[in-house]
Symmetry: C2
Subunit: 191 residues, 2 copies
């Protein structure tokens, strides 16, 4: 299970073999059932999660009492409530497995120990967060620039596999649509 993470780390930084096993030992493997929760809103986010297999989503309960999905993570992506994780204080988000998933958890204390022992991992995480920062700039641009229909079409073009895998009502929530509106767009596209 750790080999996916090992390959991912090696794409971004060079790590001697003897250090790699020490680094990988810092992670806790988790097997999640579909809809199993990793984190509940209002609790402290104790770990940063790397998706080996499956899909996670991040959501919160909105004023109407509905779950509002704000982010997904597929294979090779990291997910955490970073405000909660950084300051180890109660957070604003829940994290749940969309489908059966294999995840590697890096707990806060394990991370601090790992970064002290293997500072090269600071570079890996710097690059991960920089990439996420760039993605959020593109996402915010898209939210201003495109109609809701265009946002869906862009998303479907960028992540075709994803649109197939994720239940439609979750995709609709993420895009800020009703499931009915999403069905309409898809029907229009097929016709």
């Amino acid at each position: 299970m750790v080999s996916a993470l090992q390959q991912h780390i090696q794409k971004f930084v060079r790590i001697p073999d003897e250090d790699m096993s020490g680094i990988l030992a810092c992670f806790t493997p988790l097997h999640l059932k579909k809809k199993e929760n990793l984190l509940a809103e209002g609790n402290v986010c104790h770990a940063n999660y790397f998706v080996v297999k499956g899909c996670l989503r991040m959501f919160y309960i909105n004023d109407k009492g509905d779950e509002q999905t704000i982010q997904f993570a597929l294979e090779n992506w990291w997910m955490a409530d970073y405000d909660s994780f950084t300051h180890q204080k109660p957070g604003l988000f829940s994290i749940q497995a969309v489908e059966r998933a294999e995840v590697l958890a890096l707990h806060y204390q394990a991370q601090e120990k790992m970064l002290a022992q293997y500072p090269v991992m600071e570079r890996y995480y710097r690059l991960m967060h920089q990439r996420a920062h760039a993605a959020s700039q593109r996402r915010i641009r898209g939210q201003y620039n495109f109609s809701r229909e265009d946002q869906y079409l862009n998303f479907a073009r960028q992540y075709p596999e994803f649109v197939q895998r994720v239940p439609q009502y979750l995709l609709a929530s993420f895009l800020g649509f009703t499931p009915e509106y999403l069905s309409e767009i898809r029907a229009k596209r097929r016709s």
Copy 2:
């Protein structure tokens, strides 16, 4: 001018005095006039910018030909088009001084050299990007959750000084309002 950056770095990481001067020497000080451009859409973002004094904004030209502001940076914030900066390829955003500004630029090559020589700075930038990542999660949550009026009120509560300093038409653009709609909300609040 570098002392603001030195203080900021020392808040996050411990650096021996003899290394600090080497680190600070990697930055290029810039004095910008009001409305001076640091980066134009379609060009490569050559540097990551730290605001010592003043305010920067990031924007793009939308389909209607209007400038759409997506981000501001006040004192002690970093700003760059991170996709363009990371891959040194043409980017999607422009960066401009909102008011007279003093900025420290860390050019791409200077960054790579600095990080190789002072790897502790990987930790500093990891923490900066992690903080920005957390802020974008909160921002995206707010965009789903709040009415446009509430988004303004939240923003004004969180950054009162900012709302005073930034021209109203830029603030309106950032919030996705027309300037007229922003005036209406402000008038309603005063009454």
